[in-house]
Symmetry: C2
Subunit: 146 residues, 2 copies
Amino acid sequence: MDTSNTTLTASQKKRQNFSKKRQAILETIRNTTTHPTAEWVYQTLKPEYPDLSLGTVYRNIAAFKKEGLICRAAIVNGQERLDGNLSAHSHFICKECGAVLDLYEDVADPARNQVIEQNYQVEVEYQKVVFYGKCSACKSGSAGLP
Amino acid sequence: MDTSNTTLTASQKKRQNFSKKRQAILETIRNTTTHPTAEWVYQTLKPEYPDLSLGTVYRNIAAFKKEGLICRAAIVNGQERLDGNLSAHSHFICKECGAVLDLYEDVADPARNQVIEQNYQVEVEYQKVVFYGKCSACKSGSAGLP
DNA sequence: AACAATAATAAGAATCATTCTTAAATTTAA
DNA sequence: TTAAATTTAAGAATGATTCTTATTATTGTT
């Protein structure tokens, strides 16, 4: 059924032609390790794209997540924190200022998922380990929401 | 100053005299392993307390969390899932139906927190491990939001 | 370039979980 | 029982996110 020629589906075409704003939203998320909120992305791009709307940021974030280009790092104080880094890593969340840090220590026990699957008759796709506490800045009292 | 007599602070007194509704909200959360939402608690108690208001459920949940009587198991589909079980355990979240299961396998590595603290100059208070996938019901296609 | 089809956008309304306000009702202390 | 403090119901307000709609931009095709 027509799968061997060079015709692209509408969805494939769409993906090849990112608009400037869409591309900028993705790059902004990829180029930071702050695990930003949608609002932060919007405020960051607003100067360069004065007619950018918050709805566009949210709509593209939803699309990127569906396409697997970005993912959710966490929800902190009711706001989703995004992550453009898809490599396996875990996070530290500062309970005081809300900072989300990347941790690259090995925290996943490969044998563990199998044990869980057997003990509960579930299918484990992935797991997340999140550490909570105070970041170095908040430990020393030099706080301020990043 | 004045700490050795039997006088109780206002806050301590308050805690001794739970209203019926307040007590019922706490017991409802404690007596289920479904990790309910505030709305579920409300709907569950409404028949027995016809004049219960959702605001009362939310207000008491906030108080219980602050007092450490209950905690948050997770946020699933934008809703907080509560946990009256304060013992150390982790959770499995079904990506399909949103079920939150308790896992009692040992997943916390005591040495790990120290490594994280040293490597990042942070203060780790606790960590959470959450497994994501399909629960046994959703694996076999017999779904239905619990 | 001009056209039609498709996709992306800005603006703002709508939604949904949660929090807040207020006035009334209940409980407590004395 | 009376006054002070607490708790509540009801519903308004909030805040993050999603949806709607009309407009604009882009693409593929002549």
